[in-house]
Symmetry: C2
Subunit: 226 residues, 2 copies
């Protein structure tokens, strides 16, 4: 369960201070499926990075499964990121010199599995996102939508309990995008907590809840029968 209280995040650039998050309050129950929407620059990715334990707030609290994240050691944080959380970055963040299968296998390095088991799991994840024919390609030998799907496969391969996906269908056509959405719905049915940032209103409305962020604040938090 996610419990965020009065979360603030500011960036200092010389004399300028950008207040990206200005007191966000949010509770997400286990197994929820929700969308975060809002204008470009409103703070969505900044919030996602904090939820994913990739960034720390300037002030306020983030309690994840009963543990205040700011009290955790670097090792404990790395453990959570690796075992509990799957993160799809808005700009993918793939290793340029590794193949698709090696990129996807990366989160499994500390899972205790053998090299062939890791490769097996990575290949399955790539098949699930329709990239069975592109496993040995490096990112610069893939299309934009294919890179996006490698990033998605990598986020799923360690079977996370919390999936955070920042704009996961932005580079996908209708049909491929629909396949990815079906995959997220499947994970949701399996009990994974799924949080999507999306500019696609139709996708946002397929989730059970839409949180709208404007200028670093939650402007609306709508629930509906999905």
């Amino acid at each position: 369960v996610i419990d965020v209280r009065d979360l603030r995040r500011s960036f200092q650039l010389g004399d300028e201070r950008v207040d990206a998050l200005r007191g966000v309050n949010l509770r997400i129950a286990p197994g929820e499926y929700l969308a975060i929407v809002g204008p470009s620059g409103s703070g969505k990715s900044t919030l996602m990075n904090i939820l994913g334990c990739l960034d720390t707030p300037t002030s306020g609290e983030y309690v994840l499964d009963g543990e205040p994240v700011q009290d955790l050691s670097d090792d404990a944080l790395a453990e959570i990121r690796n075992r509990k959380i799957g993160f799809v970055f808005q700009s993918f963040n793939l290793l340029a010199r590794a193949t698709a299968v090696d990129n996807v296998a990366l989160p499994l390095l500390y899972s205790g599995r053998s090299r062939s088991e890791r490769r097996e799991a990575a290949l399955r994840a790539l098949h699930r996102v329709g990239l069975g024919a592109r496993t040995e390609h490096r990112p610069d030998q893939l299309s934009g939508g294919q890179r996006q799907r490698v990033a998605i496969a990598r986020a799923l391969v360690n079977q996370p309990v919390l999936l955070l996906a920042d704009e996961p269908t932005g580079n996908l056509d209708q049909r491929t995008g629909a396949e990815i959405v079906a995959l997220f719905e499947e994970l949701h049915r399996e009990g994974v907590t799924v949080v999507l940032v999306t500019h696609d209103h139709k996708l946002a409305e397929r989730t059970g809840r839409q949180i709208e962020i404007v200028d670093g604040n939650i402007a609306a938090d709508r629930r509906q029968a999905a």
Copy 2:
């Protein structure tokens, strides 16, 4: 005017050959406004890179304003890319260590303008895409949609006659995306030839013509009163 005949582009990866374009035929008249659509991995970016003189075909011809592009020297190609063409990359391709304004000013380096004139033109272009308050930020200090808009501003700053934009609204919310579309329509009215790759069907239908690419071939070429 763009005249493409039996264009093919293959990539060799070890023993595997990927035929990204398999004999594309296409004529684009000056001042047209069109969209290229199709599934992820179908060859859209590959075609755009050839149209933008950033890549050469494996076979076939590309004649741009009466000049067969394969006969042009590297210098002549660089000149065309710099003066005639504005290119928005699907993955932005911004310089990581330069500010937004310096990124946008880059195409003006050989235009004969002074440093302050280049900065002036770059600031105007950034204002036009709504980034007046982010001119001194570097790409890692910008949101995904802001980086996308810096890439768009850079493509416009040298007043190209041919604008090639690969997924220009993929990271933008409805409203910001609509502002960018309005900008493209304005350029079209000014006589610029505008070619967009987009996964957004509503945007594709606002242009005068949709070219659908499937598996490296043109599957459909539809014109309509826009």
